[in-house]
């Protein structure tokens, strides 16, 4: 610190005051954080090694890795995990590509109404996931839904497709669409700010050299904002896992699970609590591993 001389000259109780101030600023927040975030997280990992029948019940027995083995042998869990991977891959790819496309379109074209589009595209992001889920349930409704009404207009005959009915992949694509709809604007805004910081001169030079817009995007835009892409990818994977819980709970309570809704149902069906926590632990590890992996894969050699 620059004020080293003053601090040394000051009386001792000044230092004590400073320590007291730091403690008062940090300890209340850290204690609450430890109680409501860290401790429950540790309980998840810990309880995963026990067999425990009731929620918060006192009778528990240590079972080692049995819960983890059980989770991986459970066909419902494996199916939910498959759904989760489908959503992560499909939603991530579509959202990031579309967000990048719209961001490039808006920054490059210099339209007068650019702020309008930005405001509109970002809008779904402020809505509650529950509202978006409910909204899309209505859109996909087999009898009165908007989507069937649109299909009817194009085919000329009444359409009554149960979009969220039986077919697993139809359901997954429908949920994925709602998630993409929700997320595009947020990532578009992030990419736009990344693109705004690229010097316009680079594009002017490229224009003079006769480089096409496509080539400019891959040779200038993408390399210069690669760091932004990497950060958003990690954010995106984490938030897709979180949001898919609420989307699945609202949109497909009976016919499609992701691992975290599976855990919720297990906990409330009064089954082995440790089993659900083992599944949660696995999800923690998967999300962390995916974040690390995506970070590694997108790292550049230079």
């Amino acid at each position: 610190m620059g004020s080293g001389k003053i601090a040394a000259a000051a009386p001792k109780n000044r230092n004590r005051q400073r320590a007291g101030f730091i403690a008062a600023c940090t300890i209340p927040a850290l204690v609450l954080y430890a109680v409501f975030v860290l401790y429950p997280t540790i309980t998840v990992f810990y309880t995963a090694f026990f067999s425990q029948t009731s929620l918060g019940g006192s009778s528990r027995t240590f079972v080692g890795f049995d819960n983890f083995i059980g989770v991986f042998q459970n066909s419902q869990f494996l199916e939910s995990l498959g759904n989760q991977f489908f959503l992560i891959v499909v939603v991530t790819i579509i959202t990031m590509v579309a967000a990048m496309f719209f961001a490039a379109l808006l920054t490059q074209s210099n339209l007068k109404e650019k702020p309008f589009y930005r405001t509109v595209f970002f809008f779904p992001n402020v809505l509650a996931i529950v509202v978006i889920g409910t909204l899309f349930v209505q859109i996909y409704d087999p009898t009165n839904g908007l989507l069937n009404a649109i299909v009817s207009v194009f085919t000329g005959s009444e359409s009554h497709i149960a979009w969220l009915g039986e077919d697993r992949f139809t359901i997954l694509w429908c949920v994925a669409f709602a998630m993409v709809w929700q997320a595009i604007g947020y990532y578009m805004v992030m990419y736009m700010s990344g693109m705004d910081s690229i010097s316009p001169e680079l594009y002017e030079v490229a224009d003079l050299e006769g480089m096409g817009k496509f080539k400019q995007f891959f040779k200038i835009t993408l390399p210069l904002m690669w760091e932004v892409v990497r950060v958003t990818l990690v954010f995106f994977i984490i938030s897709t896992i979180n949001m898919s819980y609420t989307f699945a709970t609202v949109m497909t309570p009976e016919n499609m699970d992701v691992p975290l809704t599976f855990v919720y149902k297990q906990a409330y069906a009064g089954n082995n609590y440790g089993f659900g926590m083992a599944a949660t632990t696995i999800m923690f590890i998967i999300s962390f591993a995916l974040a690390l992996l995506s970070n590694k894969l997108t790292a550049r050699d230079d």
Binding site: V37, V44, F121, G145, G185, Y186, V228, I241, N242
Partner: protein, 300 residues
């Protein structure tokens, strides 16, 4: 002549490009706005109108849907609960996050690195993973307290204050991350000047640095407002009494009962009721919000 023709062709090409761009952007605008406008329109229809066609406009503004959602659907009570939770959550958040962000960004002390690391680890931990253990922990603590006579009637679960506190604490990592990024950019000279002027440590933080961080504070308040107003996974487990349910839970319940009661109008009205406050807020602050996002995203 030839050069003129080329530039004319290039100009032509450019306007064509602009037209195509506009068409693409307008198409996506429709994709974004149409579902919402459809919801608002449907919320004013009678059930018979709704069942006849998805396209027709309502013949009259059937406001009864809103009355039904608000009263019979219980959304009125849920609305008040959501206001309480959001307001309390924001208060808790400011009291906890501002000092923590200030100290960890502008003062040096021994365990600062560890504190930063532990808090940032929280960015990976979301309520979706820990809602069940949080609930279990609090309900067993409540059972333990209830054994003592003076705490006999104490309710910790289904308690809006505790719920708001948990919400505030769980947004702490993100909030501190944003605030710290902003606060560490303020020159050190301000503290030194304040110290020379005889300002104490608290006064320096509250009267000098906090006012200077106003724009970052507005950003986190907006983000956290939306996150408390829209919170679902924890509320679903923690708030089960109908008297304490918040709007997202109320809406989900409305959708479940609507399957049997077939009051479509009330449900669409319910969606509008939940959306409305965030829409209003968004209209007021959207510019700041989109700037705030680039602030958080680029500091990564």
């Amino acid at each position: 002549m030839a050069a003129d023709a080329i530039s004319k062709k290039a100009k032509h090409h450019k306007t064509l490009l602009k037209v195509v761009t506009r068409i693409v952007l307008i198409a996506f605008t429709v994709v974004v706005l149409f579902p919402i406008l459809w919801t608002v329109m449907t919320s004013f229809k009678t059930s018979t109108e709704f069942l006849t066609s998805a396209w027709t406009l309502p013949s009259t503004l059937h406001v009864q849907n809103y009355v039904n959602a608000w009263n019979t659907g219980n959304l009125g009570a849920n609305f008040i609960n959501s206001i309480i939770v959001t307001a309390l959550g924001l208060c808790f958040m400011l009291v906890l996050a501002v000092p923590l962000a200030y100290v960890t960004s502008r003062m040096k002390f021994k365990v600062r690195g560890i504190v930063n690391f532990v808090v940032m680890a929280g960015l990976f931990i979301s309520q979706t993973y820990i809602a069940v253990p949080v609930f279990t922990m609090i309900s067993s603590f409540q059972r333990y307290l209830n054994e003592y006579v003076i705490f006999q009637d104490l309710r910790l679960t289904n308690n809006l204050v505790i719920y708001a506190l948990i919400c505030a604490v769980s947004t702490l990592p993100f909030t501190v991350y944003l605030l710290r990024g902003y606060m560490s950019g303020i020159p050190k000279d301000y503290e030194e000047a304040a110290g020379i002027d005889g300002c104490g440590l608290w006064a320096t933080m509250l009267r000098v640095i906090v006012p200077m961080s106003k724009s970052a504070l507005v950003t986190v308040v907006m983000f956290d407002f939306m996150s408390y107003w829209n919170e679902f996974p924890l509320a679903q487990i923690f708030l089960t009494d109908s008297s304490v349910k918040t709007l997202p839970i109320g809406l989900q319940n409305l959708m479940e009962t609507q399957k049997f009661a077939t009051d479509w109008g009330a449900m669409f009205a319910g969606m509008v009721i939940v959306m409305l406050p965030t829409i209003v807020l968004y209209c007021i602050v959207q510019k700041r919000l989109t700037q705030g996002i680039s602030m958080g995203g680029l500091k990564g």
